[in-house]
């Protein structure tokens, strides 16, 4: 009887007090910072180097929806033309906003990335229940989505939870590049979710196909048929990226 109490006492308080301001390790690759120093001879090589072709030049831009945050480009540009900051607030309500250029800073990104819609705030602002659909990825996004609910990140404290049935859900979170074999089950889950509902694409696979983008095994028609409300970049995304993204999307403080 006493033993469990001792363990609890020993563990102390594990929950991150404020997920809005929590610090992550300096090595965490978050929002890239681009500058003008890209050497002309590096430019072409840079595009070839990127495993997901997330980089375009003239002007230099990185698509966070494709980027797997491997840092190969940062290491390649010896003069610091690309540097990954550890800024983890990366989610956006617009696919276009995920493309960052040299004018993008953490401040400008945060201001433009999320557009709060009144009806979303009204409907889901205090409680958002989501159904997770894993569709062909590598399972790291699923592990990070699980971590969002653990004792450290405790997303449940904001009324945001993953639920066991689409019937109980206000929307779905898609992880993975959407394999052909998962296309139909994904559609079924979406249609089983009652209206009004939202769709979140979490991770570069879901947003763009990620590292699997060129595989013939994907079937991504779902994304042409239905609107997407929130994009959460990362490969995998960090739990803080997901939680902050959803809180911003809901217009929460």
């Amino acid at each position: 009887m006493l033993n469990p109490l001792k363990i609890r006492w020993h563990q102390g308080h594990q929950t991150i007090p404020n997920v809005r301001t929590a610090a992550v390790d300096a090595k965490f690759p978050g929002l890239p910072v681009l500058n003008d120093d890209l050497l002309a001879e590096d430019a072409a090589a840079l595009q070839n180097l990127c495993p997901t072709k997330a980089i375009s030049i003239d002007p230099l831009r990185i698509d966070l929806g494709k980027c797997i945050f491997c840092g190969d480009c940062e290491r390649f540009c010896k003069n610091g033309a690309i540097r990954f900051s550890n800024e983890y607030k990366l989610a956006s309500t617009s696919r276009q906003q995920l493309i960052v250029d040299r004018r993008t800073s953490a401040d400008t990104y945060r201001k433009s990335a999320i557009r709060v819609r009144e009806e979303i705030k009204r409907l889901f602002g205090k409680s958002l229940k989501l159904r997770s659909v894993s569709a062909g990825g590598c399972n790291t996004c699923e592990m990070e989505l699980n971590a969002c609910g653990n004792v450290n990140f405790d997303m449940g404290r904001f009324g945001i939870e993953i639920v066991a049935s689409p019937r109980h859900a206000d929307g779905i979170v898609i992880t993975g590049p959407i394999s052909e074999n998962m296309a139909q089950p994904l559609e079924d889950a979406y249609r089983a979710t009652p209206d009004p509902k939202i769709v979140i694409l979490a991770g570069s696979c879901a947003i763009s196909g990620g590292i699997f983008a060129h595989s013939p095994t994907l079937k991504r028609e779902f994304l042409q048929k239905y609107p997407v409300d929130l994009f959460v970049p990362g490969c995998p995304f960090h739990p803080l990226t997901f939680i902050n993204g959803v809180l911003d999307f809901l217009g929460r403080k």
Partner: protein, 500 residues
């Protein structure tokens, strides 16, 4: 028929592999397996003249690998080997599904994963031919592909009588995204030759293990050996991965028996472990660390000290929580005698990794086919006799302790001499190489065949889940259906690693 003898990470020429007809290969394979050899890989590869079947066996006692192949020519069928060597069942199904080469007399010739390139495109994942038991008292339970939690997709079909499971059939393929094919082929000019990012995403919970196998295979083809410094960092990352998942599994097992304290505490401990990976390489799953030729991140004194402190605390916390939990009778009553796999069953169906060791099978790639730093710091193989959920749980606990101590030893001996990374060039042309790594889930085996430029023409991946999914189906027989989640967590198999 002869076998070409090689070793883990030792390349051979494709031309040096003995070639016979399929009858000769079949007899030789059955003969070797009767003498205690084990199947590592068995796959088809069409070359210019027709289909060739490649077999890789392991002689664990002597740390050797045996390779042979058979020309099928125009033949589209051969007598199945599975009735003699059951561990081959899924390999034969895979070859049949991909190429239509029929193993005649196979007892369970069903689809494996409905790959994009399948012999019979009319086969559809929605029409899997499930086994059915008929009878008044029998009822069927279907679960998935989308599950109630945050889990990869897969379908489980139970045939039950009352609460008791008579039969479970596991149907996979939903995570298929064509990984093996993405490894193949020449690269466009200017693009990097290697695809470590892809290797890290074969099964994300085993990113380090798969990336290690991929890096080793490329280094072997280039006949280079990475520095001891890089080897040590790789071994530390691999053990961190093992600790993180094992701790997470203890939490998941706790959760499934409603031991909420264990669930919360192990969850928090896991966070500390994966955040250690984050401070090593910027990824909580060790992605971005391992590259052909070495590693991308160094281990400085500050990080070494931090790692030591964290791991000592992890060890203390895991011991405190496990000892308390595993001494609770209500916990033991759920774990003991649940989901038993006997040693004979484990050997027959070819289980690998901690679930095999928990059924009393002494096998561990780190000891049997040592690679990297495990050649200098031998790992002791741990086995347990029970084969039940308790044994698989306790195995996690013991392996966490073993891995923490291993890392502490690595940190003690760590030297920053030698380069972090060396160039990997001049890959062996028309070569064949096997790289095996003991991931936390068990034996990972990558096999590569190269063309005259040294580019992969075939990249065959075997995740331990490929061996072990049938083990779960066997384990739940005659158990209550409510114990299925618990049995499932005690195996914790990968869908992405299986579906590829």
């Amino acid at each position: 028929m002869n076998w070409k003898i090689t070793k883990n990470n030792k390349p051979i020429g494709i031309a040096d592999i003995p070639r016979g007809n399929v009858q000769q290969l079949r007899n030789a394979l059955i003969n070797q397996c009767r003498q205690g050899k084990r199947v590592v890989s068995f796959f088809g590869h069409p070359d210019r003249k027709g289909m060739v079947l490649f077999a890789v066996l392991t002689d664990d006692q002597n740390s050797r690998l045996l390779v042979a192949c058979a020309d099928l020519g125009a033949e589209r069928a051969y007598p199945s080997i599975t009735p003699e060597v059951p561990a081959l069942h899924l390999f034969e199904r895979e070859i049949f599904e991909q190429f239509g080469i029929e193993p005649q007399g196979h007892p369970w010739l069903k689809p494996v994963r409905y790959p994009f390139r399948r012999f019979d495109p009319s086969q559809n994942i929605g029409n899997y031919p499930f086994f059915r038991i008929e009878g008044e008292d029998i009822h069927e339970v279907g679960v998935g592909p989308i599950h109630a939690g945050i889990i990869e997709p897969g379908h489980f079909r139970f045939q039950c009588r009352g609460e008791k499971i008579h039969h479970l059939e596991i149907q996979l393929g939903y995570q298929h995204r064509g990984v093996e094919e993405l490894f193949v082929g020449p690269i466009n000019p200017g693009e990097p030759r290697f695809k470590p990012h892809l290797a890290e995403r074969i099964a994300g919970d085993s990113a380090v293990a798969h990336a290690t196998a991929y890096a080793q295979i490329m280094e072997s083809l280039a006949r280079i050996e990475v520095s001891r410094r890089a080897q040590a960092i790789r071994a530390i990352a691999l053990e961190l991965e093992r600790i993180a998942v094992h701790v997470g599994d203890l939490g998941a097992i706790s959760n499934d028996i409603a031991h909420l304290l264990g669930s919360a505490v192990f969850g928090a401990i896991r966070t500390a472990v994966i955040n250690t990976s984050l401070s090593l390489c910027g990824s909580r799953f060790g992605q971005g660390l391992i590259r052909p030729g070495g590693v991308l991140y160094d281990l400085d004194d500050e990080l070494k000290e931090r790692m030591k402190r964290t791991l000592n605390k992890v060890l203390e916390d895991v011991i405190r929580m496990s000892e308390s939990m595993l001494a609770t009778s209500s916990v033991l009553s759920r774990l003991e005698k649940t989901g038993i796999v006997t040693k004979q069953q484990a050997l027959d169906i070819g289980l690998v990794g901690p679930v095999a060791r928990a059924s009393g099978v002494a096998m561990d790639t780190r000891a049997d086919h040592p690679f990297g730093n495990y050649r200098y710091f031998p790992i002791h193989k741990i086995t347990m006799p029970g084969g039940d959920v308790f044994a698989r749980t306790f195995m996690r606990y013991v392996e966490i302790k073993q891995s923490v101590n291993f890392i502490l030893e690595q940190l003690e001996h760590f030297s920053r001499e030698g380069s972090l990374s060396d160039p990997v060039e001049n890959l062996m042309a028309e070569g064949f190489c096997v790289s095996m790594v003991e991931g936390w889930r068990g034996e990972i085996a990558h096999v590569v065949l190269t063309d005259i430029q040294g580019n992969p023409v075939r990249y065959k991946i075997k995740d331990p889940s490929f061996n072990n999914w049938l083990g779960l189906a066997i384990a739940v027989r005659n158990n209550g259906i409510s114990d299925f989640p618990l049995c499932n967590k005690s195996f914790n198999l990968s869908y992405s690693g299986h579906d590829l």
